[in-house]
């Protein structure tokens, strides 16, 4: 099980050797939410084969990204090492980047608690954040989302204790267009992309201000430096 190498002495190469294998970054994504048991990971990644999960965890441990922590008489959990946690800004940026071309969900796609939590983190704008307390339902995931003084805290919504949040938003995948700015809160309500089942509908404005991802933001360097130009002095056609 020697790790598959690319044969280059380079930081990017080393990085993709550590976390570039199939499923690895999704495991890291879930572990960024918190330590997880083997079974939690399996539930959060419904289509991962168990032998692959097992291999990845082993490789991530060898790479110093993940640590295996036994709990006193309670089984064990996997958690990120400090080195693994340093991937957080990278995964948030990757999530923002991928968000922009997500389109509509494909048949069979699921939304998991951890992926939705990370999605909210990627979209969170501390500088525009409006204090509020939401309960957000997407698919069959229900999260409690508390925004307070520029800080975001996401946890699972407790099923029994009902009337706690300021607003309960039910938004099966339509929340993407709100966060992406494709629709205004009013439009989203009018087109029934989501509903506010309890609390003032105006909390939707606060939500849209707090969670937002704008389209692209490419660095507009004029595409590469000259001097590397193997292409030479030819103009692009069209």
């Amino acid at each position: 099980m020697a790790e598959r190498r690319y044969g280059q002495y380079c930081g990017v190469t080393r990085a993709v050797e550590l976390v570039g294998e199939r499923w690895a970054l999704l495991i890291v994504r879930d572990l960024l939410v918190g330590p997880r048991r083997y079974t939690d990971l399996k539930r959060g990644l419904p289509r991962i084969p168990t032998n692959i999960l097992s291999s990845r965890l082993k490789e991530l441990q060898e790479g110093g990204v993940v640590r295996r922590v036994p709990l006193l008489s309670c089984g064990l959990v996997y958690e990120l090492t400090p080195y693994g946690r340093a991937l957080e800004p990278i995964l948030l940026a990757l999530g923002r980047w991928g968000f922009q071309t997500m389109g509509e969900p494909q048949e069979g796609d699921v939304v998991t608690s951890d992926s939705l939590t990370m999605a909210l983190r990627t979209a969170f704008r501390p500088e525009r954040a409006v204090d509020a307390d939401y309960e957000l339902h997407v698919g069959d995931v229900a999260l409690r989302v508390v925004v307070r003084s520029g800080d975001l805290r996401v946890s699972r919504a407790s099923p029994e204790a009902g009337p706690e949040a300021d607003a309960v938003i039910v938004a099966d995948t339509g929340v993407r267009r709100l966060i992406g700015g494709d629709v205004t809160p009013a439009e989203a309500l009018a087109r029934d992309l989501l509903t506010v089942v309890r609390g003032d509908e105006r909390f939707l404005g606060a939500f849209a201000a707090t969670f937002h991802i704008d389209p692209v933001t490419a660095t507009d360097t004029p595409q590469g430096s000259p001097g590397h130009g193997s292409p030479g002095p030819c103009d692009p056609a069209t």
Copy 2:
């Protein structure tokens, strides 16, 4: 050739579906330096099978990451779309992350012009940059590295025109320890990790100030939020 899906409706998932396949991010890395021909990419990725390069380029085009641009009577090049270029900060961060655990080169590892260029970009500190003009040799790659008023420009060193740069640094892979801060410029010279074949050796101090990657920088959130805690109220052992 249907893209291999993970079955999750999530930004990170979408991102790894677009650029997570083997070799894809290394292709993007090279294209971040500038538009490249098929053959350039092949030379820059010596161990990529040509059919894989072909497949990846096709997939990256379908994903809107790469564009195929015919040159007037001069063949064609691949270049990043604006969406693809938006990966630049992510690849730079990944490069910094991987850099920290690169260790010594393995047998057969190569350093390519594009990978070294990107490595310099990942390590570049505009705020500490000292204006200078280097010629940097690593392996059989020779780059011209010009730092001027907080700006970095890297190009291939022209083999014939010799005496141009302020200093010529020859540093087969030892430059990693200098950039990583493992050694001071003086130590690097004393231990013969690199040599300054022309120009004042003090340019090495400028170089080390300008190009630097420090160890880790993990966000020190106390490891995940409570409320997600399936692990429950058990203390970690040890």
